[in-house]
Symmetry: C2
Subunit: 521 residues, 2 copies
């Protein structure tokens, strides 16, 4: 998408918005009998350039045989692509065979196993952020950078390029803290506790989060149960100035936009290689203006990281790139053997969080302890706090109700949604999943629980999800409820029920079979 | 696509054909406000299963905001996908989150650099042939198998799996010959000469070819100028029985269908790794029933293979896999420094071929010599021909007019199109490209000439293309015509003109700079 003064391609077409959301890929639609150009000839070339209004975009071409979708004198474009042209339908437009994006030779070199330089990554990431890559090219980049294909210097170049591809916030503060988890553990809503605790201590903590992509809830999804999370940038800044913290959706801020595009192909392939994970996470945090980051790496048999040596290798890569990018990083290795807390899904997780903030006796202790530990590490970034004191300070802030007050202030500032966690609005349809035999819970599969909650409708349906009744090491009798599934639509409940019948996610055995804790907790 | 007795997903939707050709990818379209399932929740999961008529397909989901495309009680599918369901629009249908194709764990192992076994390739290729892979998964497979990632045993497994994915013809003959070129050389229409020569000698030569994908003409495109090439299988068999040979389009025969799907992502990435090339070519030829194959590997600075050591490595891999598949293979290394013949494009290439068959003094000698050489090698497959005699026999057949008579018989049998090569129907719009300075032609870029012919409209527009006036080593004066571009549509001529202005494809210099011939010719 850039203005151009080049020779215009032959025109005679008008632009048409084709109301299809093609999910981070520009698609152009031409009628097979297009009056101006031969659609089928273009298709095999795979990429066309559409120009209108002095702008141009690259798009993948689909040939259409229905004038209700696109006529013979029209060039149709999908919703993303239409928005990028910033012009009304009916505007004159032209289409021509696309010159490949400038960075394609560098991509081909990477596919062929070469090491790339700083400028190569800059060009590739710029083209990706501007949606100039097709899904095919994106996938080729992701797979070619998979495994140990990127050395740590290349990961640094990639991170730097991703930061440069979008906006970079500057808070004019010497100390801006943030926290992040590498993901994969359902119910792990520590940010909604760590932010109010650390902000109550006075540190600046502008937390922007993504919405869930393949998980049943992201921080932004759960926070949206309590408050508005789609904040204009100026409002977000004001809230951080006044309350030291916020819990907002980062999507409007255009932070590391190439990351969102790359994720659209990484997730379907379950590719989460160390290099791409480091670049993705650090670029978002650096673009958000963080100076100090606490990073949570959970270990467990169904977590992203499954052994301590693997966690240590990942930690070293994070630390190397953070140091090159002048970010102070503190890695915390945590227990990822099972979901954190009880609820999995936006409303259920918001309920758990509020119980912890209110010091409710029903509050899940694992969520409380983990949040205090992470908050303590961040509080120790303050020059006046001695190492080892953070946990106690965090606990005092939580126990005294100051964290709750801070959260209430942030919620009011962002726009209170009046969530009543004593009467959470759960999905009206429910299904209990029961223990097939007596024994001790020896395994809870993070991936399967996430999948079931997702099928039940989370996060799109806020009240949908999974509510766990027992956790690792607990004794169950045959027929005891392991968890309840909540849904709002019959089809969703049915999808979730079928999945839980195939595999409930729970394993029951003897006390000796409970996997040991990889880390102190 | 397989019948199923499984528990049906919740339904209440009706099927709708969405007349969009998504080019070897099944796409499903759901309205954002679909009454039955949450379209956006599905989208991030990237793959859905659509069931109708006892059949099921996997598809990538696009969310739609226009009821003219798909309504709230409909599930739309793209043209390929609709055809696979074999049912009329309006039929009850259901959609559910897809279980990943069975072979995905094997794909992930390949992405992670593991060696795959025979069954892995069989499962992957079956899923690919049945369009169960998304473009993202296809690309991941292709990139993960690129470079030296496949050992020769794996290439054999891949070839075998590709043969097994489709139909395999059996001619009930001990000797069935075929020829193939690895491609990349415009104008290289030797098959249309080799088939009539070798068939006139009495060998069975059932030549099926593909249409051009990114080249300006395939054998099937040029043959279509002379005769019908879309033959029902029974007719094709009859012609081969009667005339020993045919020149038909292979698309209807379902030979190695996975290959066509893989090509749809390999071409945009210019990936043509040795392993994939060997599996692609040999699987097609073995599926077509060949027992003896002559393979043409051209070498040149803009050919696919650019050095003799590279050609020898490729030859050894072809020979290893052919031997494992019990195919007798004869590799011929040829001159790939420039296009073969004069014309590039269906009509222009058909004209060159007819001139050679008629022993017209204007016939391009390089096309004649190369065809005789390849035909000679095939004729030597006959038990009664001594090594070294083939070329002379082929030349006698051509010079005597027997090859022309054989071709005329084949053309009549397939359905004569009454092509008059003395007055070929070329595009009405033309543009001459001239030498900028005097000198000797020292380079003709195969890729650039192919691209210009393609932009001019070839192969969709039969009379479009490039007609070369001079070849390597010839002297030109400034302003001499190097080649003429033919087109039928103003937009096409303009695209080709712009491309030839950026780079004509010709280099002019001194006689000493003409690249040496890698091979005897």
């Amino acid at each position: 998408m850039s203005p151009t003064n080049e020779l215009a391609a032959p025109t005679g077409l008008t632009l048409r918005r084709v109301a299809i959301d093609t999910y981070h890929e520009n698609v152009a639609y031409l009628h097979r009998d297009c009056a101006v150009v031969r659609a089928e000839g273009f298709q095999a070339l795979s990429k066309v350039e559409v120009r209108a209004n002095g702008r141009r975009i690259l798009a993948t071409l689909n040939v259409v045989d229905d004038q209700a979708i696109v006529g013979c004198h029209e060039i149709g474009v999908s919703e993303d692509a239409f928005a990028r042209l910033e012009v009304a339908g009916g505007h004159p437009a032209s289409v021509s065979p696309a010159e490949p994006p400038e960075s394609i030779p560098a991509l081909f070199r990477k596919i062929n196993g070469e090491r790339l330089g700083r400028d190569d990554f800059r060009h590739i990431i710029r083209d990706i952020a501007e949606l100039r890559y097709s899904k095919i090219e994106l996938t080729a980049f992701v797979v070619a950078c998979n495994r140990s294909e990127l050395d740590r210097e290349e990961v640094y170049f990639l991170t730097e390029a991703m930061v440069a591809s979008g906006r970079r916030l500057d808070w004019n503060e010497t100390l801006v803290v943030d926290k992040h988890c590498i993901g994969g553990i359902p119910g792990n809503r520590t940010s909604m506790l760590v932010v109010p605790i650390v902000a109550a201590h006075g540190l600046v903590f502008p937390k922007t989060s993504s919405r869930a992509i393949t998980s049943p809830a992201g921080t932004a999804d759960s926070m949206a149960v309590l408050a508005n999370v789609e904040l204009p940038f100026e409002q977000l800044t004001g809230i951080v100035r006044q309350h030291h913290g916020c819990l907002a959706w980062g999507g409007t801020a255009q932070l590391s936009p190439a990351d969102d595009v790359l994720i659209s192909v990484e997730r379907p392939l379950s590719i989460d290689s160390p290099g791409q994970m480091v670049a993705s996470i650090l670029s978002k945090k650096i673009a958000a203006g963080a100076t100090h980051l606490v990073l949570d790496i959970p270990i467990g048999p169904t977590a992203k990281v499954r052994s301590m040596p693997e966690a240590q290798r990942l930690r070293r890569l994070f630390e190397y790139v953070a140091q090159r990018m002048h970010l102070s990083l503190d890695v915390v290795i945590t227990d990822g053997r099972q979901p954190v807390g009880r609820g999995v899904g936006p409303v259920l997780e918001a309920r758990d969080v509020m119980q912890v903030l209110e010091n409710d006796p029903r509050a899940p202790d694992d969520l409380r302890q983990k949040s205090l530990r992470l908050a303590g590490r961040l509080i120790e970034c303050s020059p006046d706090v001695r190492g080892g004191e953070g946990f106690r300070i965090a606990r005092d802030i939580l126990d005294s109700g100051r964290a709750l007050a801070q959260m209430r202030a942030i919620v009011r500032a962002q726009g209170d949604r009046s969530f009543d966690h004593h009467h959470p609005a759960l999905g009206a349809l429910t299904q209990a999943v029961r223990a097939p035999a007596a024994g001790v819970v020896i395994g809870i599969d993070n991936l399967q629980i996430a999948q079931i909650a997702r099928l039940a409708g989370a996060p799109k349906v806020q009240g949908a999800g999974v509510d766990l009744c027992v956790k690792l090491g607990q004794q169950v009798a045959a027929g005891d409820v392991l968890y309840s599934v909540y849904a709002s639509y019959p089809a969703d409940l049915e999808f979730a029920r079928q999945a839980s019948e195939r595999a409930s996610g729970f394993s029951v055995g003897t006390a000796a079979q409970v996997p040991h804790v990889f880390v102190e907790f």
